[in-house]
């Protein structure tokens, strides 16, 4: 996975409660890139996933989402990526 892809995804997730498809929409990356990248970032301990409660999804008449959020290590990595790529914040 290219470093800028991971940096873009970390930046997107930092923006708020994010699930896979919203990352695709925000970054413009295809599904075949985004989902493996999310798995890898989670495996590396940079992000963490959790399923939202079924009751919330039921109330809004939609399937439950699997949300991703940055871990402490992910936040530190994003900070160093921002220093390395100053334009990162404008990309997403």
């Amino acid at each position: 996975m290219a470093s800028h892809t991971a940096a873009m995804i970390l930046q997107t997730i930092d923006a708020g409660q994010i699930y896979g498809f919203s990352v695709m929409e925000a970054t413009g990356l295809p599904s075949g890139t985004v989902y493996p990248a999310l798995r890898r970032l989670e495996r590396d301990g940079l992000i963490q996933s959790h399923w939202e409660k079924q009751s919330i999804a039921d109330a809004e008449q939609r399937p439950p989402r699997k949300y991703y959020k940055l871990t402490r290590s992910g936040r530190e990595t994003l900070e160093s990526s921002r220093k390395r790529y100053p334009l990162l914040a404008r990309l997403v």
Binding site: S3, S31, T33, Y35, P36, R39, R40, R43, P63, K66
Partner: protein, 281 residues
């Protein structure tokens, strides 16, 4: 239709992760379809995701006297050196020999194949030779750095034996396919073209495999290395790991493979264990 694509892709995901994987992709598909996006294109990405999980999903393993819970200690090593079938050099050569024998048997048992035109045979040989020129474009030919270059003869003989066994498989197995098109002169060109394509692509893949397999073997016992472990801090080098280390289960040494080849460390390196390590194996 889209659900079928996700189901088929899901069959590639390891069973332990499949239910959650399917739930996530089905949930996401609902949002994609609702947003008026191209759902089929979205679903095709599931194959790449499934393959990634298949390659990287952690599984606990036991090797020799070394008990390592990969899931707890090493969250996601690459699967290099994972093939138990071809782990020992004898079994690897026996397997390749069996393939070669089968190819030869089919060649000699099918009269059509046995009487293949000489030009078809020559075109297969040519394409196999051309495959050797293409392979460096797909993978490095270097087999790594080995200090003092000990055991070089053993490694080279093993590699040569693999290639020698691959050769008849790649030359004789396309012939029955080409011969099945008929001996008529009109089909001769088509038969040669088909056989050549098979010999070429088969040759590229087989030579590439032989090189990759060679790089994942212990230079002393020639067994496949195991227990791959990612080392260094994740994401330090362009959000990547420093490298991966694999160990010989007989305690001969350790192979360090850099994740991102650099000028100062471009090739994999082998480190021989001294006798102080024997207690672990």
């Amino acid at each position: 239709m889209n659900d079928v694509i996700i189901r088929v892709a899901g069959s590639l995901v390891p069973a332990a992760h499949r239910a959650e994987w399917l739930a996530e992709w089905r949930s996401e598909l609902w949002y994609v379809a609702r947003g008026g996006h191209r759902a089929t294109v979205f679903c095709l990405g599931a194959f790449r995701d499934a393959l990634w999980l298949r390659r990287n999903a952690p599984l606990p393993r036991v090797y020799g006297s070394l008990l390592i819970d990969v899931q707890q200690s090493f969250p996601g090593p690459p699967p290099a050196g994972d093939s138990r079938l071809l782990e020992s050099p004898v079994r690897c050569l026996a397997f390749l020999g069996l393939l070669a024998a089968l190819s030869l048997a089919v060649f000699f048992l099918l009269p059509g194949a046995r009487h293949s035109d000489r030009r078809v045979f020559l075109s297969l040989l040519t394409m196999f030779a051309v495959a050797w020129l293409i392979v460096p474009a797909t993978t490095t030919l270097s087999l790594g750095d080995y200090p003092a270059n000990r055991h070089w003869l053993r490694r080279r003989v093993f590699f040569a034996a693999k290639i020698a066994l691959i050769f008849p498989t790649m030359i004789f197995s396309p012939l029955p396919v080409a011969a099945s098109m008929g001996p008529a002169a009109a089909t001769l060109g088509a038969a040669a073209a088909l056989g050549s394509q098979l010999a070429f692509w088969g040759g590229v893949m087989a030579i590439r495999w032989a090189l990759l397999d060679q790089r994942r073997r212990c230079p002393v016992c020639l067994r496949l290395l195991a227990n791959p472990v990612r080392i260094g801090q994740s994401s330090r080098i362009f959000l990547d790991w420093n490298g991966t280390e694999l160990v010989c289960l007989r305690g001969h040494g350790l192979l360090h493979v850099p994740e991102s080849p650099a000028i100062w460390f471009s090739k994999q390196r082998w480190l021989y264990f001294d006798p102080s390590w024997t207690g672990l194996f």
